[in-house]
């Protein structure tokens, strides 16, 4: 149902014909205006070292045998650079100790082979790069073996390549990768067809995939040497601190009085942004010789604003508008339209309706937004950690008033991403400040800038109407999802999803998950844009994106239905996961995962004390075509005052194939705790057009003392590898709410769940 971008159900291998894959082609200047740029990161460094062997753009082997992988994905803690190296090393036959990683520039040759751009999100990276990295590794192995065969005077097909050494078992001769590269004889090239034809290893032949090798980036993250965007230092660089208006979006600067700022030592200039990309409104940058002086100058600026059209809006206004839009018959576009829900409601034995909401949430990665801009000749060099180099480069170009081909993005490690660094607002103040003062400028947001100007998870309202037949079976479901549309803001039509009746493009990243794997014969999902929220709170993709709210509604409602007809909520789900029609395969995998979680948690078999309860939820996040099948059993205790204590979260997830088992567990645990944090602890609110929470005293992600026991079971059944960074986020909130109901009879329908809301719902129960 969701067919945006170029994702197909089985993830087709990349169109290799468009890629500069072969030996020597990196030097041929295929990269359109980039290859002449000095100082490029990435594989272009190989140009200066012709003795390296570069079997693909993705890695280079130096004469000392060191294999340096260039990762085109943003590494924000998911260790994706290391994962790419692991997949390459598997087919290449390299020793893990010889593997290194570096981060790619925005040269299009490093674009994702499936997505055709440099964007990191959706828990897509492993699944979409698995085939390309495997083939790149295998091509290198074949080229090295062929060169070794010639040098040793033996047939290539009897050689064994293992741990960076090519060995002939018959003659016992061997050559290391280092020796082969030094010989200069490894020159074999592959046409795209030859690459496609390479027979890859079968999983039973794997020696690295499936092994928890030490992550290559971790040592540098224990001794202070890992370089993040905020750590970039350039000669002659000065510093910028942004001053952001009290209104999230739409304000304009009326005047700036810098007379007090001028008394701050080292103050250089106050720059009013002229942002033609419309990413920011009403921003000023205080530039000084040090960041602390820039901060002092920023605090000393007296700026008067016109608050603009959103200056009176609040969270309540956005919610009221969402309810108004939902009530209209002609709102929105259909994401799902199966059967005839209107007719089915007419004959239903029972109809149940409920409204589910989520508040605004803030990404708050621990590294505040920052970027460093440097103009050298005609080229803008931008240093930052970002998740969408393709678009960020274009925004930087827009801010500079140049063609995007004159922007080089230098990727750094990301001090947290979570979707925040898909947005490129930080490019604008860095570029315009650097332009204004004629020096490289590093702009660093204060935490207050970062929180109040977040491209937040939008406030959402969902109305769900369910029709049951005489046997209690769900036969009709209308599901309306009202929110800002983060992806629409990007202005990239390919990222929108055509509505099922071809009436327009909708933001699939606000409704993914609502196209679940339960068999429901009559099913509508409407995606409704809340234009007011869209304008007042420009929203972004926050870890787990739409399934973070759609499954909140679906999995809460399914529970409510089960209770309404007196069935066990887990069994009610299993009955609907019958795998009929388009749900074949996926539904069974989800059912199996749910059963695994139930078994681990002792669901239904453990006697719980009064005031305690277990609740289940199961999800096909992130998207139907890219799902990791994930289920949770939450175990809670609820006090008479409504306080919820989470005793244990049991999470099972079917990821098909495990590349790195330990990393999967780390990601699933982090995701589950994110889910818990969003469900209980994180809430942002809009008042007078501005986000009220400014730092970690009022916006309060989970801390160590709030961490419950988390049990994880990873199911690897040999299917394609799926993503693990996000799906477990989405299963927690509904499992908790369902557990709270079982413990106390209180049904809560708004996130985050508060003790007051639980207590109020208990009195209704």
């Amino acid at each position: 149902m969701n067919t945006h971008v170029k994702i197909t159900k089985d993830i087709e291998p990349a169109d290799l014909s468009r890629r500069s894959f072969l030996v020597g082609t990196a030097a041929a200047g295929l990269a359109l205006g980039y290859s002449a740029v000095p100082g490029l990161l990435g594989a272009d460094s190989a140009l200066a070292a012709p003795s390296n062997f570069d079997p693909s753009v993705w890695y280079s082997i130096a004469p000392d045998g060191i294999v340096t992988v260039t990762c085109g994905k943003a590494d924000m803690g998911q260790h994706i650079a290391s994962t790419m190296a692991q997949i390459i090393a598997e087919e290449l036959g390299a020793n893990w100790k010889d593997m290194r990683v570096q981060l790619a520039s925005n040269d299009p040759k490093f674009n994702d082979p499936v997505l055709g751009a440099q964007i990191t999100g959706g828990s897509w990276s492993t699944m979409m790069n698995y085939d390309a990295m495997s083939r790149a590794g295998a091509a290198g192995r074949m080229a090295l073996a062929e060169a070794a065969a010639a040098a040793m005077g033996v047939p290539a097909d009897q050689l064994v390549v293992r741990e960076s050494t090519v060995t002939d078992p018959k003659s016992k001769k061997s050559m290391t990768f280092a020796e082969i590269v030094k010989s200069g004889k490894a020159t074999k090239t592959f046409t795209p067809d030859e690459l496609k034809a390479i027979k890859l290893k079968t999983p039973d032949q794997y020696t690295k995939i499936g092994v928890s090798v030490p992550q290559l980036d971790i040592p540098s993250k224990t001794n202070g040497t890992a370089k993040y965007g905020i750590d970039v230092m350039l000669p002659g660089m000065v510093y910028g601190r942004v001053v952001t208006p009290p209104v999230r979006y739409g304000a304009t600067v009326k005047s700036v009085d810098d007379s007090a700022a001028k008394k701050v030592p080292g103050f250089i200039k106050a720059v009013i942004l002229d942002d033609k990309t419309a990413t920011t409104t009403g921003w000023v940058v205080a530039v000084a010789n040090t960041y602390d002086n820039a901060r002092r100058a920023a605090d000393a600026l007296k700026i008067s604003y016109d608050g603009g059209p959103n200056a009176k809006l609040s969270s309540d206004s956005l919610l009221t508008e969402a309810r108004r839009l939902q009530a209209l018959d002609d709102s929105g576009l259909f994401f799902v339209k199966d059967g005839d829900t209107a007719a089915a409601f007419g004959t239903a034995a029972k109809v149940i309706e409920a409204e589910y909401t989520t508040n605004i949430n803030i990404h708050a990665p621990l590294e505040p937004m920052n970027a460093t801009a440097q103009l050298q000749g005609d080229i803008w060099h931008m240093y930052s950690g970002n998740q969408f180099a393709t678009r960020s480069g274009a925004i930087a170009a827009g801010a500079a008033g140049v063609d995007p081909k004159y922007v080089v993005m230098h990727q750094m490690w990301l001090g947290g991403g979570f979707g925040r660094r898909l947005d490129a607002d930080m490019m604008v103040p860095a570029v315009q400040a650097a332009k204004a003062v004629g020096k490289p400028v590093k702009v660093i947001y204060s935490r207050e800038n970062d929180m109040t100007m977040d491209f937040s998870r939008p406030l959402t309202l969902q109305k769900v109407k369910a029709g049951l037949d005489g046997d209690g079976k769900l036969v009709a479901l209308n599901h309306d999802v009202v929110s800002a549309w983060p992806t629409k803001r990007w202005g990239i039509p390919d990222f929108l999803t055509p509505s099922v009746d071809k009436k327009g493009g909708l933001d699939g990243f606000t409704v993914n998950g609502a196209d679940f794997f339960y068999t429901v014969p009559n099913h509508n999902v409407r995606a409704i844009l809340n234009e007011m929220a869209h304008n007042a709170t420009p929203s972004g993709q926050l870890r787990s994106v739409a399934p973070g709210w759609t499954f909140w509604a679906v999995e809460s409602m399914v529970d409510e239905l089960a209770h309404a007809v007196g069935k066990d909520p887990a069994q009610y789900r299993i009955d609907m996961l019958d795998g009929k029609g388009a749900n074949a395969g996926g539904a069974q995998r989800l059912r199996n995962t749910l059963l695994a979680a139930m078994g681990m948690a002792g669901y239904g078999s453990k006697q719980l004390p009064k005031g305690e309860g277990m609740g289940v939820a199961c999800v096909s996040s992130q998207e139907r075509a890219t799902a990791s099948w994930t289920a949770c059993v939450a175990h809670v205790a609820v006090s008479s005052s409504g306080e919820v204590k989470v005793k244990k979260l049991t999470v099972a997830t079917d990821v098909g194939t495990q590349v790195h088992p330990d990393n999967i567990r780390a990601q699933v645990e982090g995701a589950a705790l994110w889910g818990l944090s969003l469900a209980l602890y994180e809430k942002a609110t809009l008042k007078d057009g501005g986000i009220e929470q400014t730092n970690f005293d009022t916006y309060t992600p989970l801390r160590m003392s709030q961490m419950p026991e988390v049990a994880i079971s990873v199911i690897a059944n040999g299917e394609h590898a799926t993503g693990v960074g996000e799906p477990a986020v989405t299963v927690i909130a509904p499992a908790l709410a369902n557990a709270i109901f079982n413990a106390s009879g209180a049904r809560v329908r708004s996130l985050p769940i508060t003790a007051d809301a639980v207590k109020a719902a208990m009195s209704k129960a």
């Binding site: 260790h79 621990l366 992600p701």
Partner: protein, 162 residues
């Protein structure tokens, strides 16, 4: 110009007395392992030691640091092999890694006084350090592992001494 004793070296810096130590360390001394997170003492990313005590360098002025021994992540061990750093690698703790310098410095100040902490003591000591990737359980395991190693090493030293 004020002199700082940092990681065993004396260095003179040029900054106003009320400049937060964090920015002196990061910009003037170009030691970027100490991180800026919140600027308000709420997240712990900027944690360093002053005379062995963990402090938030964003809330510590330059003048408060003068005359004291400052230790940053770069100076915690000679080769990045403090028992906590080794334990952080053994447990594969970091995800994005941005908070981890502060986590390690905070943990080091606990283990220097208490090499056999209970889980509750670890939580109480570490609760001011946010990890947005939520690596808390691995942080706990790594602290326990490092504590165990330090106790073993200390017992070995004691035996040698007698």
């Amino acid at each position: 110009m004020p002199n700082l004793n940092i990681n065993g070296r004396n260095m003179s810096v040029d900054a106003a007395n009320d400049t937060p130590l964090l920015w002196v360390i990061r910009e003037q001394l170009q030691m970027t392992g100490t991180k800026f997170g919140c600027g308000a003492g709420l997240c712990g990313a900027c944690t360093v030691h002053l005379n062995g005590e963990a402090v938030r360098s964003c809330q510590t002025s330059l003048s408060e640091a003068v005359g004291k021994k400052i230790t940053t992540i770069e100076g915690l061990s000679a080769k990045g092999d403090h028992p906590l750093q080794k334990a952080w690698i053994a447990e594969q703790v970091p995800q994005c890694g941005y908070c981890q310098s502060g986590q390690i410095m905070q943990a080091a100040s606990l283990l220097s006084k208490n090499s056999d902490p209970t889980k509750e003591e670890v939580v109480a000591h570490m609760d001011g350090n946010l990890c947005r990737c939520m690596t808390y359980s691995r942080i706990q395991k790594a602290i326990m592992r490092a504590a165990s190693e330090m106790r073993t090493a200390s017992a070995t030293t004691d035996r040698r001494a007698t």
